[in-house]
């Protein structure tokens, strides 16, 4: 009983609490980063409430949350009330539920229950279909968007919802293809096993599958609706998007979910391609033996994830947004073929190099081939350049 219910429950509570707090502070970090990149200082006023202590603006997330909490939760008359309320819930629920299979580290040597095993840092440890579960839930997130746009019963929301769902559906394909290479090589859908595989060989998949990494990262940006693919909510050019009609807590639910998507894909990038909690000569690769080792593995994972999140935030201010047709042509004409190529390459190389027949002695050859193919594929794509349709104004010779 303890193992079945109590421990997961404690894990869930701790996880959700930590996630929400971290998300709030990541929003603050995002704002700070935005300010720093633009040579500003960012929010630095809000500190301890009711005092003049400022704490570099660390009270800002609290203030933001309170602001949303006290805002009028306005329901326009023309919406479909049930779906309108359901949409943000669906989005947030699916975003949170993904964390059930994401490892927050390896294990801790804390023996609870009859099995005497270490305490796993996953809510649902040993989930064999972890990746499938993640994909299923991230597809459900699209429903939240569609419902939000549709139930708002407003053309802007509707178009925003269409736009978003089109983008999400399009990029789910390269996302899957990027992962398939990893799955093929590691032979498992369990995220914990994928990490262990990388730790054992010491060769992260980022090095062995550069093409897969690029495809996955680009698709991850698009799935998380981050710049340069944030068409779902490009406030400047198009009206807000699917959440135009939302306000107050419902709006912030959408926004948190969206932000959490970014954290999720950061975790996935680290786990699938950057060895998870593994770091050479620091964490070891076997089972956890001491508290120090367990905590170190958590720390390494978190540091990596933080690094990826910082990268996300930097990219936001480095690149302008794609146009929608460019976005689509990138998905279908660039990412899809490259993902397929990566899959095929892994399928070919998997047998002779990975399946312990040739062994790790020839990993140099393996690396060489995969990097050469990746570069070649990238070069060919660049030369063929299947960009968006030519729609710039064309010169017309003046008629006489």
């Amino acid at each position: 009983m303890l193992e079945l219910f109590a421990i997961p429950l404690v894990k869930i509570v701790v996880l959700i609490g930590a996630l929400m707090t971290v998300t709030a502070y990541l929003v603050l970090l995002e704002r700070k980063m935005a300010a720093w990149v633009q040579d500003r200082r960012g929010p630095d006023r809000v500190g301890v409430p009711l005092t003049k202590i400022r704490l570099f603006g660390l009270g800002q997330p609290l203030a933001d949350g309170l602001k949303f909490l006290f805002k009028e939760e306005f329901t326009p008359r023309h919406v479909e009330p049930l779906l309108y309320t359901l949409a943000p819930v669906v989005t947030l629920a699916s975003a949170l539920a993904i964390y059930a299979v994401i490892p927050m580290g390896d294990t801790l040597p804390l023996k609870i229950g009859a099995s005497g095993a270490n305490l796993s840092m996953v809510v649902a440890p040993g989930c064999d279909v972890g990746l499938l579960y993640i994909f299923a839930l991230s597809s459900i997130a699209v429903y939240g968007v569609i419902l939000g746009g549709w139930a708002s019963n407003d053309k802007y929301s509707f178009l925003g919802g269409l736009r978003t769902s089109a983008q999400m559906v399009a990029y789910e394909l390269p996302l899957g293809l990027g992962i398939l290479g990893v799955v093929l090589v590691s032979g498992s859908l369990d995220l914990g096993k994928i990490i262990h595989q990388q730790a054992d060989s010491g060769l992260w998949f980022a090095f062995t599958q550069p093409l897969g990494l690029v495809v996955f990262v680009v698709a991850a940006f698009a799935e998380a609706a981050r710049l340069p693919f944030d068409l779902p909510e490009c406030e400047q050019e198009l009206v807000g998007g699917y959440h135009t009609e939302y306000s107050g807590m419902r709006l912030i639910t959408f926004l948190i979910a969206e932000f959490m998507h970014m954290v999720t894909v950061s975790f996935l990038i680290v786990i699938l391609f950057f060895g998870g909690w593994h770091f050479w000569g620091l964490t070891g690769s076997g089972p956890v033996e001491s508290w120090g080792q367990g905590i170190l593995r958590i720390g390494v994972l978190m540091a990596k994830v933080f690094g990826v999140i910082l990268f996300f935030m930097m990219v936001r201010w480095s690149w302008p947004r794609f146009r929608f047709d460019q976005l689509m042509s990138l998905a279908w004409k660039v990412m899809l073929p490259q993902g397929l190529l990566n899959l095929a390459l892994m399928a070919v190389l998997c047998e002779p190099f990975i399946a312990e027949r040739i062994g790790s002695r020839h990993w140099g050859v393996f690396l060489l081939i995969s990097w050469a193919v990746a570069l070649l594929a990238w070069l060919v794509t660049a030369l063929v350049q299947p960009s968006g349709p030519e729609n710039s104004p064309q010169r017309v010779e003046p008629s006489i």
């Binding site: 980063m33 300010a35 720093w36 990149v37 633009q38 040579d39 500003r40 200082r41 630095d44 930097m314 990219v315 201010w317 480095s318 690149w319 990238w378 070069l379 660049a382 030369l383 350049q385 710039s392 104004p393 064309q394 010169r395 017309v396 010779e397 003046p398 008629s399």
Partner: protein
């Protein structure tokens, strides 16, 4: 505009080189720029603690003042030129016959809605007697809209407050009054 209009100057879009087509070098370039700015000195002025630097208070466009002449009377002759020039229509003047023999007309009331004002300085430009000026006072606050509608006395008091730090340029420029 029609595309065959002869006045259009057509520019060919420069074609991307291989590095541009490869995306990645440009991507790194963008990231480098962002990273450089991440650590470059910040320009934000933390306002209440830190005052913004006013380079030349004589040309700064802050709160208005109504200047006084040598005898301490309001300089304004109620010509309405500032009200005419004002793009925000924030100046309201009631002109009347002046009580002084050397002047025909003076403002019985002169109000500026500081909330409506866009601080463009056109009133200062328009004034033929250098009576209205924009000072370098920049932290204008109030608790009500009524409080932000400055009448003649208040505008004159702004002059009394700032006349030492910001002398009227008219004497130097050879003003007419």
């Amino acid at each position: 505009m029609r595309t065959d209009d002869p006045s259009i100057r057509w520019i060919e879009e420069p074609s991307l080189g291989l590095s541009g087509r490869m995306f990645l070098p440009l991507f790194v370039q963008g990231l480098t720029t962002t990273a450089r700015h991440l650590f470059s000195p910040k320009v934000t002025v933390s306002f209440p603690e830190e005052r913004p630097k006013v380079d030349n208070p004589l040309i700064y466009r802050g709160v208005h003042r109504l200047n006084r002449d040598a005898e301490g009377r309001v300089k304004c002759v109620a010509c309405f030129l500032c009200a005419t020039a004002c793009p925000a229509h924030c100046i309201d003047i009631v002109g009347t016959e002046s009580p002084w023999p050397d002047r025909e007309k003076y403002p019985a009331s002169f109000t500026i809605d500081e909330l409506r004002c866009i601080y463009c300085g056109m009133c200062e430009e328009a004034c033929p007697v250098d009576a209205i000026e924009l000072t370098s006072l920049l932290d204008l606050t109030g608790r009500s809209r009524e409080e932000m509608i400055f009448d003649k006395e208040k505008l004159l008091s702004v002059y009394d407050q700032t006349k030492d730090t910001e002398p009227m340029p008219s004497a130097r420029l050879g003003g007419t009054l």
